[in-house]
Subunit: 190 residues, 2 copies
């Protein structure tokens, strides 16, 4: 059931670093993006990825983690992602990816979750630094970094109260994510 | 397997109009978007939908279909969508939905495909006309229209030759979609 898989696909930020991800698994998940819809079928996204521990160490300091958790600066040693995928816009093909990037990241993450992994889409990225690490040409711009690994945290969906959408962690270190109720999302049905 | 579902989720543009979609099914699919990741968990998307034939008739003329098929102006009577979902940006919440819209449409379409339906994300929309039909306030802007129904066409994935990404229909009315090979999408693996 797609519902179960989508509900399991939380933004995971802490992982069991001892569980590695094979490059072939990443390629399989990127292939899911390949099969997904693309505006005008242009397919302007490209991907770079790392499963190499020494490269991952270089990438980590250039990522911003969980803006709402003010006293947590990111995953500690042993809980860090074991792979990163950079979702890239090929500017030689287009200046506008429309919603292709969201479609692609959702496909990739659903593939990862089905295989027992999980991840987080990171938008706070020092793009020029990470571009250098991947030796990207000027035509390829980083849109998102997906951090991946074997999730080591419990995430629970809550329902928002008022307009309070900030996620939080409780004393047992469980991560709570308030989601707006369905009635609030559906403006009109005719 | 998510791979099978993603591979089955083509952009379908012709449907069996005699097979209706219940509003409860649409709500179930929108709920999949609700459970999906959202940048900063802001959840700025809203949705309006129609399963009403008379409303659908008003919406149809304001949509552009399959730009590469120059001698096909859209689905004929009997093959038209039986439902439309308008994916909306709540501008009172944010000016930037990041990639939330792509994530949401992919979740919705995968839900539809699993239930035996399918659809097409339409970006060529006379937004002011469709906004009037749904009586949207100025704070809600249409990002995408998803046309939905029981698919009545065969879609086949091909591999691109060179940079030729235009889809086409053959003599048997089969719709062919060339996808760039995986090697071309993966710029770098380390």
């Amino acid at each position: 059931m797609i519902r179960d898989l989508i509900k399991k696909n939380h933004s995971y930020r802490r992982f069991d670093s001892s569980v590695k991800i094979e490059p072939s698994a990443i390629e399989k998940w990127i292939e899911l993006a390949r099969f997904s819809p693309s505006a005008r079928n242009l397919q302007p996204l490209k991907f770079a990825f790392s499963t190499d521990e020494s490269i991952n160490k270089l990438i980590l300091p250039h990522l911003g983690w969980a803006g709402y958790l003010k006293d947590w600066s990111g995953p500690e040693e042993g809980e860090r992602p074991v792979a990163y995928i950079a979702v890239l816009q090929d500017k030689s093909l287009t200046e506008n990816v429309h919603c292709d990037d969201g479609i692609a990241v959702q496909s990739i993450l659903l593939g990862a979750v089905e295989d027992g992994f999980g991840g987080c889409i990171i938008g706070t990225v020092n793009k020029s630094k990470v571009a250098k690490i991947f030796k990207l040409p000027g035509t390829l711009e980083i849109l998102w970094i997906i951090a991946l690994g074997k999730p080591l945290e419990k995430v629970v969906i809550e329902t928002t109260t008022g307009n309070e959408i900030k996620y939080w962690r409780d004393k047992e270190d469980v991560h709570h994510v308030p989601k707006r109720p369905l009635d609030e999302l559906i403006f009109k049905k005719v």
